[in-house]
Each structure stands twice: as C-alpha cells, then as structure tokens.
C-alpha cells in the first residue's frame, strides 16, 4: 500500500466503548459525518453516509475489532460504489490512555485515485516512499529555490 496518507488524532475524555459507539452507531455518526447514516457493522457490510446538500457517499466496511479498530473504504463521489481507485480507506484506532481514549484516524489511497489503471497499480505497489511528506518537502525545496 502506498503511504499517501492523512493522519490525525485526538484525546477524548470518555471510555473506548463510548467512543466506539459514537464511531459505529448510525444515530451518532449522523452527528459528525453527514446528516444521515446507515451502517451494517461487519466486514464486507455496506454503509452509506448521506448529506442532504450533496448526496450519499457509499462505503464498505473492511475491519471491525471492537473497541480497538474500525476501517472502511468510502467512495470519493456520491452515489457510486466504493471501488478500488475511486475510493479511499479510512481506519480508526482507539487506544486506552489514562485520561480516556486516544482516537487516531488515517485516510489513505489518494495517490491511486484518478490515474490510469497502470498508474494506480504502481502507486499501490510503491511502499517505500511517503507521498504526502514528499510533496511537502518538494514544496519547501521549490519555494526555497524560487526565493
């Protein structure tokens, strides 16, 4: 897998079970991710995140390890299946810490979007370089040399 990724985390003062519920129960998900949600919480299960203004983004659940890990692949565009090359993978990990729960989210797969199939394959095979960090470095280089 390529390392083009977005990685963020937050400390939540609540139990992992509580955070898990907010991540996985449709009534809670609609509070932080769209206006409506349907989730069939099992590997291969379908999910749909609806935005009244934009439409529905479909997803397929990949891994469910309560209350440690949840991942799903969601379609970049509305009302299409979350196919390879047209979707990104979102993975949540929940770690128990003294003050509550450390919630980390990693979204990957941006570099394999939009390319030709050959380019997508290549991007998936390329596991040695970090795309995002390289981009930031290149930008820095370029700006320095332009100055």
């Amino acid at each position: 897998m390529s390392q083009d990724l977005i990685e963020r985390e937050i400390l939540i003062e609540a139990s992992r079970e509580r955070v898990w519920a907010v991540l996985t129960q449709a009534k809670h998900v609609a509070g932080w991710f769209g206006d409506s949600a349907e989730i069939d919480l099992r590997p291969g299960g379908k999910a749909a995140f609806g935005w009244t203004q934009y439409g529905t983004h479909r997803a397929v659940i990949e891994r469910v390890d309560e209350p440690n890990l949840l991942s799903y692949r969601w379609a970049r565009d509305t009302d299409v299946e979350p196919a390879e090359g047209a979707s990104t993978l979102v993975e949540f990990t929940l770690t128990e810490v003294f003050a509550g729960t450390l919630l980390r989210v990693v979204e990957t797969g941006f570099a394999s979007l939009h390319g030709t199939p050959a380019e997508q394959d290549k991007a998936l095979q390329d596991n040695t370089e970090g795309w995002t960090s390289e981009l930031a470095e290149l930008k820095e280089y370029a700006e320095r040399s332009a100055a």
């Binding site: 390319g115 290549k122 390289e134």
Partner: protein, 116 residues
C-alpha cells in the same frame, strides 16, 4: 447537531492531474531532482537515473500537463523546471482534507464526552 460537509465536495478544487502525476515514483524522483538541482534537460536528467531519455521525456510531459513543471528553450535544449504553484495547490488540497478530519474528530469528542 450541525452536520459537517463531506470532504469530497468541500475545500479547494481537487488537483486531479497533480495526483495522477504524483502517483508515480519515477516522476516524484524527477521532481525532486529538479527541485534540488535546478532546471535541467531530459538528457541530463536521464544521465542520473536508470531510465532512458525517452522515458524521462514521457514523464516530463505528464508533469508538464499537470502543471508541475515548465519548459523553456535555450538554443537547441529544452530545459525543465519545477513550477511551484502546482505543488502548492496539491499540498493545500491535502491540508484541507486534514483540517476536515480535525473538525470531525472534534465533533466525535464533543458527542462522546457530553451525551453519556
């Protein structure tokens, strides 16, 4: 509860061609060389890499279409240089997606901590 906008539709325009161009490790390497060493011709670039001049020229064409490099004629040579704007747009786009996750995580925190 205010719903957050989906990342797919919000934020800056998606730099499709930049993403496709950057998906290839050889092209990223070419950009890195141009950024570090300054403008160069396809032949010069090929000398430092284990690929042919023709292959380098093809990759440069893709980078050029994506707005990541510019070319200029110097006599018989065509020199390629990094175009900073293209990289900035792509970096801004990724930063925008990261900021959306920050908003979503903050909303998760709010719900988890208050609706017990």
């Amino acid at each position: 509860m205010t719903a957050l906008r989906p990342g797919r539709r919000a934020g800056p325009a998606e730099p499709d061609e930049v993403l496709a161009a950057m998906a290839d490790p050889t092209r990223r390497r070419l950009l890195g060389v141009l950024a570090a060493d300054g403008p160069a011709t396809a032949s010069t670039l090929a000398d430092g890499l284990p690929i042919s001049r023709q292959a380098v020229a093809k990759h440069l064409a893709v980078l050029s279409r994506a707005g990541l490099v510019t070319s200029s004629k110097h006599g018989r040579d065509v020199r390629f240089a990094v175009r900073t704007g293209g990289l900035s747009e792509a970096a801004d786009w990724l930063a925008g997606l990261a900021a959306e996750w920050d908003d979503r995580l903050a909303a998760i925190k709010r719900i988890a901590e208050t609706n017990e």
